[in-house]
Amino acid sequence: MVFHAAPASAVPASGVSPSEHTAIIRACLAACADGEREAFERLYRLTSARLYAVARRMLRSEALAQECLQDAYISIWRNAGRYRSDRSAPLTWMTSIVRNRALDILRVATREVAMDDPKIAGLLDAAAPLDGTQGPDYVPELHPCLEQLREEQRECLRLAYFDGLSHAQVAERMTVPIGTVKSWVRRALLQLRDCLG
């Protein structure tokens, strides 16, 4: 399994503020809506490492994540004209597309797991670490609003957001009562809303 070093352009380059970075991505999307391939290539260079990380985290499989990313970017290219800059940040919009595609793939794969396919089950083994990305020493850089949550709250959010788990499934995974999970999730959402506005 080979991981390529993330290009410097995957995150805002030094000297480019986050707002400028967002503006560049927004401009690329607008150009994509006009069918400009070069803008799409630039958009890919600027954002693919971020979005691939989301696909890898959700699907826990390099092959499935690549399929997901491919489908998502084709969708982004075809639907760039539908992006409304007054409604959401461009990366949020693109992340939603990747996440929805990954959830679709997860749903299909989960059905196959139900058919006792050990290969797929292995691919989706939630206990498997993300090779090269989240070993035992990996410590994510948390946004202050996420940092204020308790770790079990964050874990509930991650299991639901990335793994598509229900309250009951999260409860089973964390071996706590479902009522506790519902309470943690609700409080976490309220805290995030208060913190982020």
């Binding site: 693919s48 989301v54 491919q70 290219w77 990366l91 994510p140 959010l157 995030l192």
Partner: protein, 231 residues
């Protein structure tokens, strides 16, 4: 679920909807409400923004280059393909020479190159770069006066198992010549039909994806490339 729900509860439901914990019939009812409730849609977008923070904390991972190559092929502007389909559809119509002439003006992906600059070998007289517009060359082809084409794989596309890229020449008279598979790597020597050899500069070049090992009279699979030789 009612439209008259307490605003705070509606907002929380929007959060659970985006998070994914709103499941089953409750999720479907929520989606029905979304159709007619712009405020609820705003709530959902706000939660998409907030929960996207979870994604931001992930360390970036650059995807393999192959992913971009596949995406790039999928978003190739359609007009080139439509043009080829029209050309193929006309075969072997008597009007083909005029179509070929028009195509020669329109298809900009064909680059006549002195191969010394690209291939770093003794430059031949004439050559052809098989490439999607603006993309890296897939194959380089040069014409050997002995009646052969020397084909070198540069960056051929990754194909589904059991398929191969086939090279075709269409003569000005509308005859279609299947020249066989293009190499997946390295080089290949392809013999030109005698009837084409002296009139290669008038021929139209097509590359299509066909089932491997099959022999067909005309391109019938996905078209990867088309252009005039213009040697």
């Amino acid at each position: 679920m009612s439209c008259d729900l307490d605003p705070r509860l509606r907002d929380l439901l929007a959060g659970e909807y985006v998070l994914g914990t709103l499941k089953g019939s409750a999720r479907r009812r929520f989606e029905n409400l979304l159709h007619d409730d712009s405020r609820l849609r705003r709530d959902v977008r706000a939660w998409e923004r907030r929960l996207a923070l979870l994604a931001v904390e992930l360390p970036a991972i650059a995807p393999p280059r192959e992913v971009w190559r596949k995406i790039s092929r999928e978003i190739t502007p359609a007009p080139k393909r439509r043009l080829t389909q029209r050309v193929i559809g006309l075969l072997p119509a008597a009007a083909l020479p005029r179509v070929v002439a028009a195509a020669a003006l329109l298809v900009v992906a064909v680059l006549l190159v002195p191969f010394g600059g690209v291939w770093n070998v003794q430059p031949p007289l004439h050559g052809l770069t098989i490439a999607e517009q603006g993309a890296q060359p897939m194959w380089l082809v040069r014409h050997d006066p002995s009646g052969h084409l020397h084909v070198r794989a540069v960056s051929p596309p990754t194909l589904e198992p059991g398929t191969a890229c086939m090279l075709w020449l269409i003569s000005p008279g509308g005859e279609v010549h299947g020249l066989g598979p293009l190499p997946e790597n390295g080089e290949a020597l392809i013999k030109l039909p005698l009837s084409v050899g002296s009139r290669l500069h008038e021929a139209f070049v097509v590359v299509s994806v066909e089932p491997a090992g099959t022999v067909r009279d005309t391109p019938s699979g996905r078209l990867l490339y088309q252009g005039a030789w213009r040697g």
